[in-house]
Amino acid sequence: MLWLRSLNVKPTEPPVVQGSGPSGATDTGRGRWESTTADLAAGDDPCYWPARRVAAAVRERRISAREYLDALLTRIERHNADLRLVVTVDDRARTWAWSADQATVRREGTGPLHGVAMTVKDSLSTGGLRTTAGSADLASYVPRADAAAVAALRRAGAVIFGKTNLAELCADVQSSNAVFGAARNPWDPEYTPGGSSGGSAGAVAAGFSPLEFGSDIAGSIRIPAANCGVLGHKPSYGVIPMHGHIPPYHPVQPDIAVLGPVGRSVRDLELALDITAGPSQWDSLGWRLRLPPPRVIRRVAVWPDDPYCPVDGEVRDAVHAAARLLSDAGITVDERPPPGVGLEASHLVARRLLAEAALTRDSPAAGPGGLGAAGADGALGGEFAAQQYSDWVQAQTQRARLRTRWAKFFRSYDAILLPVSASLAIRHDARPMAERRITVNGLDRPYWDQISWACLTGICYLPSTVVPVRLDSRGLPIGVAVAGPYLEDGTTLEVARILLGMLPGIGHPSLT
């Protein structure tokens, strides 16, 4: 508070960090905060403010960047040990926050995230700060340079103060690894926050970070966002440069994989996308990116279930509930899948295309001819790692045909509501991959059923925004996915905004 006094802040201003210090203890009970339009229950605790609100408060000197950072660190200090969401804190962050405050005084801090402390997934390289990607091989790796997206966030004024937990090399829908152990869901630590960006979504849900950056190839942003009751956006493929993300090890542009924001406000996601989107380092000399504005939302389709990959009744009901809200908003809602796009056909294509992800994440230390983790039984993408090239080309061709079907469909529809995953959030499952199973509607199903719905849109490069809808019968969040036409990220975010404006809000987890 010294800083505020030195700036002669009016005494009528509320003490901004009260309640988040060790003595001030006001935990945010479920349903305590009232939801505001397109924000997830912001309330008076700065730890739950959206990033834009923090930026505005810093700019107007109602809170200092240091006070905000300290509020988050205090909260992390109290609650993170049990949850293992934040895995590394950068000691330099206090200095950066101090510099940000000095810049504010000089009226120099003009970036849209100026002075906003935040964390990123530990698969994103941070110059001078340990980056492990959850791999024991990289437990002590300190990159020399930032990932492109991290650099863009820093240029926008963000104070990147820590890294969040994830699945080993991003290859699971839980977030456990040999370096840091298993991230736990802040709504109920007996359950996984999902993966691979489980630390990202968990940290945002727990009030450890206002905004996060994760990555997604088969649901790795979307599933954690749904499990943790926060917003997640999987952008159109290629919109945010992947440079500096691990995996892959080689300088390749990995197929299907994207980076994307996780947050508690649609405007924060839009801002984060705006800050980080652009041509990659290969293309930036000549290409420019200009995403179209959102459509006026008139017609939305809904595809809540499919015999190929049965969806949990509670998830299906949540998708229907979201559809009814859009209908109440005057939008035409039709329950129909896109003609020609089968879930089964799409998933067969996905399984073949995901082999690339398995091979490019594989450790160079796997040895000659060895597929390492990729070839291990049941690993993500491992199934077809040894397929023939002609099989891969056929899958690639079929993907192009699926993209054509989707494009045609989105001439009639602005967006489609889908389950994020076939199942509700699952309990931690540390068994070997090949032995893992899930239960859907009381029936035993394959573990990888959890990614079928995410791959449906992911392999076709479509944007998808996850919106928290309600709590399930066990008290864990359920989200729905809003997918839309390629490069029309603004449209899926717009549908998310409409939904959030109508939903009562699920509040925040009670941390102990």
């Binding site: 003609p339 020609g340 079929q398 045909r401 699926l402 079907r405």
Partner: protein, 89 residues
């Protein structure tokens, strides 16, 4: 669409299904995503060209070429029926 073209779509969908040894495709289904490959696509084109045979040679060749290009561009009963309608009526 008129009833006539609906019947046409249904016939094309049936032909496509027969080439794939299965029931008729849905109007928006993609032949290649239902198990078709380029060899079967050529077979399909031959069957459709025969079923809707045109008397004059030049028209028949043009029809066959149009089907061949369309089957790779949009291999749905809807799209192929549109080619039949455009080229043969």
């Amino acid at each position: 669409m008129t009833d006539g073209s609906n019947a046409l779509v249904a016939t094309v969908a049936m032909e496509m299904g027969e080439v794939l040894s299965r029931g008729p495709l849905a109007a928006g289904d993609d032949f290649f995503l239902c198990g078709g490959d380029s060899v079967l696509a050529v077979t399909l084109v031959a069957r459709l060209a025969e079923r809707y045979a045109l008397a004059d040679e030049e028209g028949a060749n043009r029809f066959r070429s149009a089907l061949l290009m369309e089957v790779f561009d949009d291999a749905s009963p809807d799209a192929l029926a549109a080619v039949v309608e455009r080229e043969t009526y």
